[in-house]
Structure formats: C-alpha cells, structure tokens
C-alpha cells in the first residue's frame, strides 16, 4: 500500500483517511469508515436543504396573510421539507453515519460483513437523492410527505411517481444497511464480546435494523401500488372502483410509524454511550436498557393505526391501538429513568456531548409524554392535524434524533478525524440549539391546542404572537446548526490533535488510534470485561484538550 518503502519512523501512521487520496479511492471505497464520511457529507447537504424549506415555512407563517407565497407553493414547500427531512435525513442519519463508522469498531471487526453492499447502499441513497432533487427542481410534490390517496393517485398533477421512485431507492438503501448491521452484529463480534457485553449503541442499531428490514419493504410495495394506480388506474385504493383509501393509510403507516423508531432508536443508543462516559458509570440496568430497544422495535409495529383515529376505523380497533400505543411508553420510560438513575452518584462532567445528552433527555421526555396524550383517542380527535401534532413529532425528531446525532458527532469527532472540535464554540452552539429549539416548537403546542391547523399558508391574526416567537426561535436554531458546520470544518485543519481516547471512554472504538487504521485494529481485540467498566478506567486528565 501507500507506505511501502517509506521508513516507518518518518511517515505518519497509515490510517483510513490518508490511505489513498484519489477521488476513486473515496467513491469506490468499501471501507465502512469512508462510507460513513460519504454519508456524513450527503446527509448534511440534505439537512440544510430541508432546513432551507423549514425557514421558508417559518417566514411565510410570520404573518397571518399569505404574503411570501400562495397556497400551492406553500403546499410544495412543506412537502419538500417533510420528504427531505424524513427520507433523506432522519432515517439514514444516525445509522448510516455514526452506525456505519462505529458498528465494526465497537465490536472489534475489520469491516461490516458486506462492504460492497454497504457501498451500494450509499449509491442507492445518492441516486434516490438525485432523482428527488430533479423532481424538486422541476416542480416538486404537493401532497405532504404522507402522499395520501386518492389525492396522490387522482387529483394532484405534481411528480408523485418520480418522488416515489426516489423514496423507493432510498428505502432499499436502508434495507441493505439494516441487513448488513444484523449480519455483522451476529457473525463478526470479537472473541469474548458476548451479547450482554455489547455497547448499548450496538443494541440500539440492532433493533433499528430489525425495523428497517421488516418495515421498509412494505412502504416499497405501497409506493409501487400508488405508482401503478396513478399510471394505469388499477383502483386498489380508489373507492369508485371498489378500492379503499384506508388500505393505503394502513400500509403507509405500517412502515411510517415504525420509521419513527428507525430514527429515534439509534439516537437513544448514542445517549446511553454519552451518559455512561460523562457520568463515569456503568449504565444503570444495562439489560433493561438493551432489551427496551428491542421492545420498542417490536411494539412499534403494533401501533400504526393511531395515525388513523379520525380516518374512519372502528372504535374497537381504535381502542386497541390506543392501548398498544401506550405500551410503547413503557420501554421508552425504562430508558429515560435508567439514564437518570445512571447519573445518580455519578462523577458528572459537562462537555458538549453531555450537554446534548441532557437536552435529549428533557426534550424526548416532552415529546414522548405528548405522544401519550395523542395516543388518547379523546385528545387526539381534538388535536388531529393541528400544530400540537407538529410540535410533538418535532420534539421527538429534532429534540430527540438530532440532539442525539449532534451529541454523538461531537463525541466521536476526534475518533473520526483525529482532531478535537473547539469546546467553547461547541458549548455555545449546544446552548443555541436548545434555546432555539424550545422557542420554535413550544409555542406550537399552544397554537395547536387552541386550534391552529397544520399545512395552511395563512391563519387568523390572533395566532400571530406565538407564530412570531416560533419563527424567531427557528432563526436561533438555524445559527445553532450552522455553527457546528463551520467549526467542524475548521477543526479538520486547526483543531487540537486528538489522542486515541480523549474522553477516557470505555468501548473498543477507543482502543485503536484516532483516526483508526483501514482495518480498524492492529490486533483483533479479545474482550474480557463488561460494557462501561468505568470503575476500572483511570480518570487521567479527563478534560479533552481545548483548542481555539
């Protein structure tokens, strides 16, 4: 390879980043770490694109009148925001970036089980993304991200089939990621790394992968049926031909509700790692936290019809789905309580990743509890399709998923790049994100509860004060998201050099160099300890070197 012939003491240690510099060595790489970086760049692009549409929405809603755009444009803008954020950001973000990078490292493997399929899955994602961008630039879609029939099959004249194809391809990308993770976790763990010694991030990604491979094919066939119905008028969802639009909603939510757990579970895994490291303690009730991930994945498949309480399903079905939706609260609460119990008598420090972890616990708790309100049929009927629902799922997806992702990205940034991020700036941005987020979305709970419906471009003037607050919060949030983008890039060149384990953290990924060599470990590790054995790890100089 590149270092052959160069004396070892002069050349910098060969790692996955400097092992080949050509464009080809990146675009045709089968190294899971490089693929993770490819995903990192592409999901970031989609995140800012989706964020751009979010800003358009908030700007339009600054005033009660439709002054920035009219109804048709607004419909397209919120649809683009939703589709990009759900299918091209939230679903891939933690598994495909952090998971891809960390799953083999955390279990002491050289790579995922199927590196070429891993690369294929990035290409599927990118192809889907490109098709979606083309669809967006040539007219977009206006159905909302849920593309309900019969609107999507009969009435709208926007590019449903093209957007469907894009989502279909992105879906197969996540099927292959999930398949790869499951096989890798089953077959490639280092000697001694038994299931009850696995990091909780691995458990979380395992549960996520189960949802990915069981749920995603259903949305794939649903999209195919919508497309053929639109092209050939088959009538499977068309009541005039005897079909039933409710069948579409059942099939759609059979995937799209579990998809919420595809988004949140890996972030929960990140939080378990962060809490343990920055409280210097083994996660309280390790087995329960591990199995609660699997429980959420299983229960998650049994609750989809709570999206359809007002759609005309039978009252008894609604009651059963309401009850089952409550049951998801149990494993979720197990996690929150156990994280909190881990903090008890811990030696807590407040580095940026920990700030995000705290943010996650608080915001996810609010998002989760309002979820229980929505699972209550009586309240749901009152707030269906209002901003209450919008606020609820943003608390889970932005307050939860994104907080976990950013916390994890800061935590593992030194491992991924060999550089520290600037701690002071990072703390500032964590604060901005937290404040901006709450200012954006908390008013929406109130707005929704007093009756402001979602997906309208104008609203009665009495709602304006809260909408102005929300838009102001969104601006702060935008700054909070732009800052990391800037200082992460800055740190690549100017950040302090990170050693192998800047946080004195447990976990196999910290036992190799930063950044790791191409095949991850100089020697295959043999695991003889339990996960999060922080009582055995010396405190050393705990603070990470602070640069800038």
């Amino acid at each position: 390879m590149a270092s052959i012939g160069i004396p070892a003491n002069q050349a910098p240690k060969l790692n996955y980043l400097n092992n080949g510099h050509s464009l080809k060595s990146w675009l045709l790489t089968t190294d899971h770490k490089r693929i993770a970086l490819l995903y990192l760049i592409s999901v970031t692009v989609f995140f800012f694109l989706g964020g751009f549409f979010a800003m358009l929405i908030r700007l339009e809603l600054l005033t009660p009148q439709g002054d920035l755009m009219q109804a048709d444009t607004y419909n397209k803008v919120f649809t683009m925001h939703g589709m990009i954020m759900v299918f091209f950001f939230l679903i891939p973000v933690v598994p495909a970036v952090l998971g891809n990078f960390l799953v083999p490292l955390m279990i002491g493997a050289k790579d995922l089980a199927f590196p070429r399929i891993n690369l294929l899955s990035w290409y599927l994602y990118i192809t889907g993304g490109m098709i979606f961008l083309h669809c967006m630039l040539t007219g977009g879609v206006d159905t909302g991200w849920t593309f309900y029939t019969p609107f999507s099959t009969d009435y709208t004249n926007t590019k449903i089939v093209e957007a469907g194809l894009a989502i279909f391809l992105a879906g197969f990308s996540s099927i292959f990621t999930g398949l790869n993770f499951i096989v890798t976790i089953h077959r490639m763990r280092a000697p001694g790394l038994t299931w009850d010694r696995l990091p909780l991030f691995i458990w979380a990604n395992y549960a996520t992968s189960l949802v990915m491979i069981l749920g995603t094919p259903v949305i794939a066939i649903t999209i195919v049926l919508v497309a053929v119905e639109r092209l050939f008028h088959l009538g499977i969802f068309d009541p005039r031909l005897g079909g039933d639009p409710l069948l579409f909603q059942h099939l759609f939510w059979f995937y799209s509700h579990p998809a919420v757990y595809i988004m949140i579970l890996p972030s929960m895994g990140v939080i378990s790692e962060l809490i343990a490291c920055f409280a210097r303690k083994r996660v309280f009730g390790y087995k329960f936290v591990a199995l609660s991930s699997v429980a959420i994945a299983v229960f998650g498949f049994l609750v989809w019809a709570h999206h359809m309480f007002v759609a005309g399903i039978s009252l008894y079905a609604a009651m059963i789905f309401s009850f089952l939706s409550f049951s998801v609260g149990v494993p979720s609460a197990v996690k929150v309580f156990n994280w909190t119990a881990t903090l008890y008598k811990g030696s807590i420090s407040y580095a940026t990743p920990m700030l995000y972890a705290f943010g996650f616990i608080g915001l996810f708790t609010i998002g989760g509890l309002t979820g229980l309100m929505l699972a209550t049929i009586g309240i749901d009927v009152h707030v269906t399709d209002t901003y209450f629902v919008v606020a609820h799922f943003h608390y889970v997806m932005v307050g939860g998923v994104l907080m976990g992702y950013l916390g994890g990205l800061h935590f593992w940034w030194p491992k991924m790049t060999g550089r520290m991020y600037p701690e002071a700036w990072a703390k500032l941005s964590a604060l901005l994100v937290f404040v901006g987020f709450n200012l954006t979305f908390f008013p929406q709970f109130i707005l929704g509860y007093v009756g402001m419906p979602r997906r309208y471009w104008q609203y009665p003037p009495e709602f304006q004060a809260l909408n102005v607050l929300s838009t102001a919060g969104a601006s702060i949030l935008a700054v909070g998201y732009l800052l990391p983008m800037i200082y992460f890039v800055w740190s690549l060149r100017y950040g302090a050099i990170a050693d192998a384990n800047p946080w004195a953290a447990a976990g196999l990924e910290w036992k190799t160099t930063s950044p790791p060599p191409t095949f991850n470990f100089d020697e295959t590790p043999v695991v003889t300890w339990e996960a999060y054995n922080y009582d055995e790890i010396p405190h050393k100089e705990r603070r990470a070197p602070v640069a800038g």
Partner: protein
Amino acid sequence: MQDSQATTSQATVQVTTAEHEAHNPALVHQFADAEQQKNAASLGMWLFLVTEIMFFGGMFCAYLIYRLKYFNAFAAGSQSLAIKWGAINTAVLIVSSVTVVLAIYAIRFGRKKLTVAFLVVTVLLGFVFLGIKSIEYTDKFREHHVPGANFHFTENFDDNGKQIPVNPNEVQLFFSLYFAMTGMHALHMIIGISLMSTLAVLTWRGHYSAEYYTPLENAGLYWHLVDIIWIYLFPLLYLISRHT
C-alpha cells in the same frame, strides 16, 4: 455464541489482499476464516428473503381484504383464469426448484459440468414459466380483462351456466391485484433467470468448487423463495374461489 469466537489471529497491521489471495481466493478481508464468511453470507441471504416476504406481504394483505369484501366478484374473476396453464406453471416451477437443488448437490462433489447443466435446465424452465405466463396475459388482453378503459367482464357464470351477479368494478379490482401480484412475481423470475445464467457462466469458468459454492447456495435460496411465492399465488388466485 460459537460464531463470535471464530475471529482469530490476523495480528499483522495491514493485511494486504494479496496475502489473502495466497491461501484462499474467495476469502475477503473482513472475515477471519471461510466458515465465518459462509455463515455471514447465508444469514444475509435469509434476511433478504424476509424483506421479500414483507414486500409481497403488502399485496397479499390487500388481496385477502378485498377477497373477503367482494367475494362473488373475486370468485367470478378467479373462474375466468386458465387453471390448466396455472397448474402447468406450478409443475414447471417445482421441477425447476428440484434442478436447482441438483445443481448445488452436483457442485458439492465438484461435478462442474453437471452443475452447469442443471443450472441451464433451471433457466430454461424459468423461460417456460414466463412463456406460459405471457400466453395467459395475452388471453386476458384479448378478453378485455386488463384493468383500464377497455375493461369488460361478462364471464360471470358458474359451472352450471347460472349467472352470478357481480359488480364489474369489483372484478376489475381482482384483475388489478392479479396483474400486480403475478407481474411482481414475474419480475422476480426475470431477476432469478439472470442470476442463474450468470452463475452458470461463472461455474463454467471455474469460480466455484466443492470447497466454495456459497453464491450458488444463496441464489438457490432466492429461487426457492420465488417458487414458494408462486405456490401461494396459484391457490389464492386460481383455486380457492372457484366454487362459490
């Protein structure tokens, strides 16, 4: 678990692919030994088959719901299908699954030519299936049973010539599902035929041996799954609603 213990040695820093190729050309770098690689590939294939079942599951679910809802229409639509062709196709697919098994059996003994022969027979049977399917589709097209503007259904008589009252829209729904399900199945057959043809060529060129034939085994699993899906489609579409 025993599989996790499999990772051994490889203490050297950068194991080049060249070193690997020296002892086993089929072993890729991320695996410690051939057994781990084979286990991983086979688990991966089974998981993929699970996703295929979920994929078809959406359509099976739609079919069962509408069959319960519009029983007479589905019975009438079902009776208009050519049971003869359906039955022959079922037999063709079952035989093709046998030839796949025989191909894998042959490669275990290193009989490469025999393996290729069985794979070729499998591919041919796949084409026979598609040919018969296209005869059926053509008939449906001639009878105006293809959903759309020209859909027309007058064959709603039972075996005694008695008219069954049906709503043509509901019968059209039956044919929508019939074409969606058998069409998706046929697409999988086409993929399977391409797969088997490729493997026949690769076997001919000596890529597989008694020691290493994982791709053959996995492709065989895929072929069996596509076969099994048909085994379900045939009674659901052709048989169970025949006598109301």
